[in-house]
């Protein structure tokens, strides 16, 4: 009985182990990809015969070029303009836009105010909802669909992401007092470039992580008592972004033996792109120019980063961010969605692990 009791007591920590079955990776997409669609009020009219349509459409397309995301005509109904645009009467509005007398008369006869989708459909689920209101134009985006339904990763990619999720959790618990932990990975091999824990004040885990990545490129600004792995001479990749304490942990853990460690060395110094590297999103700049900041690298974080850290990762040109837990001050999902700000000059993808 006693023995069984002890066994039962031992069970809870074991149950904490991450379950393999329910592992999921959810893309955190901007509001443009939300399933709920927004509607707008518009003035429309039903013309008496289809023969009138051609002249009406021709003139509307020229003088009131609204609704690029919608079909202008549905059966004998024509969209005229957003209701909010009309200051006084529809007639005055049409006169203001120099609609010819004939068309104006046609348009003002059978007027209805209806609701139509306010913006274009990015995903099929949105499109299917939108067409219930009015026929829409739709250009399917295979990649966006795959992000939305989670089919964007291959089985082996998913398996690697899952290992990183488990590693974050283990490193935090076993090495870093339950504090935040970050791992930077070169996804091409894949190989762990740098690992970092939390510091004090503004020295959050992400800020350390980008500095450790800098160390792998013969840079790095922050002084620290931490020991870093020293490279063997004539090595082809560098371990200098890895603090010794994390490295030793990975080396003694049987489950981590096959994990590849190290970063590609920076290529010839004089060839380094300087302040603003290329903005050609179709080219893989990591392959073309070698390591530069965090270009092409993935970052795995135990906790959703704050605004400072999220912007640090924009400046560092990270490719993708994966995190496990949301934070109250998180700037990618909880408080804000920095990666949805179109004005920024770099955009990474964001995923949350669900267990």
């Amino acid at each position: 009985m006693d023995n069984n009791g002890i066994k039962d007591n031992l069970r809870p920590p074991a149950a904490k182990k991450i379950k393999t079955d329910n592992f999921g990776i959810t893309a955190i997409l901007s509001d443009d990809y939300k399933k709920d669609i927004t509607l707008m009020q518009v003035h429309s009219c039903e013309v008496e015969s289809k023969q009138q349509l051609q002249a009406v459409i021709k003139e509307l397309a020229l003088k009131l070029p609204h609704f690029q995301h919608l079909k202008r005509v549905h059966e004998r109904n024509v969209l005229i303009c957003p209701s909010d645009d009309i200051k006084d009467t529809l007639e005055q509005h049409l006169q203001l836009h120099q609609i010819s007398e004939n068309v104006l008369k046609t348009l003002c006869r059978n007027v209805n105010v209806i609701e139509v989708p306010a913006s274009s459909a990015k995903l099929r689920v949105q499109y299917e909802q939108m067409t219930k209101y009015w026929p829409c134009k739709f250009h399917p985006d295979k990649y966006a669909e795959s992000l939305q339904n989670g089919s964007n990763f291959t089985v082996s990619q998913r398996a690697y992401h899952k290992r990183m999720a488990e590693l974050l959790w283990k490193l935090s618990k076993d090495v870093n007092d339950g504090q935040n932990v970050g791992i930077c990975v070169d996804p091409r091999r894949p190989s762990i470039v740098a690992i970092a824990g939390d510091g004090s004040s503004h020295q959050h885990c992400v800020m350390w992580l980008v500095d450790h990545v800098a160390r792998s490129q013969r840079g790095g600004a922050w002084q620290t008592d931490q020991q870093f792995v020293k490279d063997e001479p004539h090595t082809k990749s560098t371990l200098s972004g890895l603090p010794q304490i994390f490295y030793d942990y990975l080396k003694q853990d049987a489950a981590c033996q096959d994990l590849r460690l190290g970063a590609e060395l920076p290529r010839r110094e004089e060839q380094q792109p300087q302040p603003e590297p290329v903005e050609d999103i179709h080219a893989d700049n990591l392959c073309k120019y070698g390591p530069y900041l965090c270009t092409g690298y993935d970052v795995y974080l135990l906790r959703e980063p704050c605004l400072m850290c999220s912007m640090a990762l924009v400046h560092s040109r990270v490719k993708r961010i994966f995190f496990l837990e949301r934070s109250d001050n998180g700037a990618l999902a909880s408080k804000f969605q920095l990666h949805a700000v179109k004005e920024l000059n770099h955009h990474y993808e964001v995923f949350q692990f669900t267990m």
Binding site: H202, Q274, V314, N329, L344
Partner: protein, 160 residues
């Protein structure tokens, strides 16, 4: 406080001469500059080494040396910087709750006030004054970006 912009501009020029993006910053505490610096991104291969962060680190070192409470010192600091702090720096300065930020020209690409409302996201209001000797700060940036960068890949060039 705006008189300290000259000190910040000196740091910006120093950064330019070192091949860094010419942004300079000083932290003023009791009418005295206690931290100064320019961008150090390229030398450290670290995109977060902005002038403001150089000054934040220097201030923490100053507080350790003088045995001063950092939190209180930050709350009494006026940040004088040649360019509007970016979202990252602005978030850091709001979180550290500095007394005020005085900047030169706007940063329309990733300014922490112009592009997004950092104060609302962080949940901390700070007095921010822009436009102090903005033309000088802006012309430093323009001259810097005008210069041909021999290391830049050819695809980076935009058609005019």
């Amino acid at each position: 406080m705006a008189t300290f912009m000259e000190d910040a501009l000196v740091e910006a020029r120093r950064a330019r001469d070192a091949g860094e993006v010419p942004v300079g910053c000083v932290f003023v505490h009791n009418d005295k500059v206690i931290a100064r610096g320019g961008n150090e991104v390229n030398v450290h291969r670290n995109a977060t080494r902005h002038a403001e962060f150089i000054c934040i680190d220097a201030t923490l070192a100053y507080c350790r040396e003088k045995r001063l409470p950092a939190r209180q010192v930050f709350s009494e600091i006026s940040v004088v910087v040649t360019v509007e702090p970016c979202i990252m720096c602005s978030a850091a300065l709001h979180t550290l709750a500095v007394k005020e930020i005085i900047y030169g020209c706007e940063n329309d690409r990733f300014g922490g006030k112009t592009v997004i409302d950092v104060a609302a996201v962080v949940g901390q209001q700070i007095n921010i004054t822009g436009g102090v000797r903005a033309d000088e700060a802006m012309s430093l940036l323009k001259d810097f970006y005008k210069g041909e960068n021999p290391a830049a890949p050819p695809v980076a060039k935009k058609k005019k």
